[in-house]
Amino acid sequence: MTGAAVTGAPPSRIAVVGASAAGLCVVEALRRQGYGGPLTLIGEETHLPYDRPPLSKQVLSGAWDTGRLRLRGADDIEALGLRLRLGSPAIALDTQDREVALADGSLVGYDALVVATGTRARRLPGTDGVRGVHVLRTLEDAVALREDLAGKPHLVVVGGGFVGAEAAAVARGLGCEVTLVTDTAQPMGDALGDELGAMLRAVHAEHGVRIETGTLVDRVLTAGGRATGVRLADDRTIDAEAVLVGIGALPNTEWLTGSGVPVGNGVTCDVTLYAGSGVWAAGDVASWPHPLTGERIRVEHRTNAAEQGLAVARNVLAGPEQARPFETVPYVWSDQYDLRIQIWGRTRGADEVRIVEGSPAERKLIALYGKDGRVCAAVGVNMMRALRDYRSQVAEAAPFTARSAA
């Protein structure tokens, strides 16, 4: 080990584990900020970095071929001068000797390490290897589901979050019969609350999606290794030839076991995204305390991966002593039929919702979400540009008053 990280000099060897949006953003920002030393990018998947939001949208529908997902061209990646280690996941970390062990048996040394290993889809127990049961997280997942949907099966979507609601919309567009089962009171109820969730439910129903709310799927029914339907917690069964499980994601931290890197719900970082021992984290896998509220959060949004990648690159070069807190207004969007839903901030835990422009009937609106008397989020439906004017109220946690209009 070199003494760089101890003396406060910039690191002379940097490794980034995770070659998706966050990892790519880290290595690009490091080069842009003048870091010219050895830089290793390690990825479990064999692909060059690609984008995930279109997987449940344009790729699933067939509107895009998978080549359009690529975040950078091969020549752009080449120009970064990386030691690319794709297709060989990190399996262990030694923070004493500062080495990452890869699945192929090789070791990668570092002075500063960035963990950007993301999340993986949660699965239903007992569904491994069952044909017709899908999750949607990787390019291969999307292609496999698309191939199944081409046969116009009855699709049961388990989970009413972003992935489930978007896939249900796409599957209807492809002519599949679709039933969406969610344990919340409304589709995307966790993110949108009851009023906007009810609007979304109406939109899905108008497009022919059958919706079962407030109920859990107990298990997937199979025959001969193939899905035949699902059994609900209330003992009803729904026949299906295909099942998409969209019940959230789990942070990929198992490889850090025994490394001394603090892990809880993700990698436990401080406000600067530093986890100690020369290790930083960015993207879906990072948990950090919100600078204003102190609440520990982990955000699985595409834009968060990029923003944290930029912040971590800056902080890695500055060193832990000079690192700056990461501040953000989380942003996420969802496309369903002809609706584009955009969310600034965090809606969860909101105790007030007020529609400040438009209305659910118009399918065009802006709603402010308040918590403890402060604006915590702004949600727009088909009001793309207008919504941006409300971002500052979310950023400042402005008082949630009757006059909370832009």
Partner: protein, 64 residues
């Protein structure tokens, strides 16, 4: 610096406008990016690089 945009992939997040308001705007009707200046002055380089990096649809290409 030369900026090019893949308009078909733009998702209307407006992140680019926040990062470089002198270079990017959004259309009123659908939020799609409007390129105000495809060859902005050098003092915009960092803002534009930031915009390209945070764009959630990776539609902004910058050639120096």
């Amino acid at each position: 610096m030369q900026i090019s945009i893949d308009f078909d992939k733009c998702c209307g997040a407006g992140q680019c406008v926040l990062a470089a308001p002198d270079v990017f705007d959004q259309r009123d009707e659908d939020g799609i990016v409007v390129l105000l200046d495809d060859n902005p002055p050098a003092d915009q380089a960092e803002n534009v690089a930031q915009a390209a990096a945070v764009c959630p649809a990776a539609v902004i290409q910058v050639k120096q």
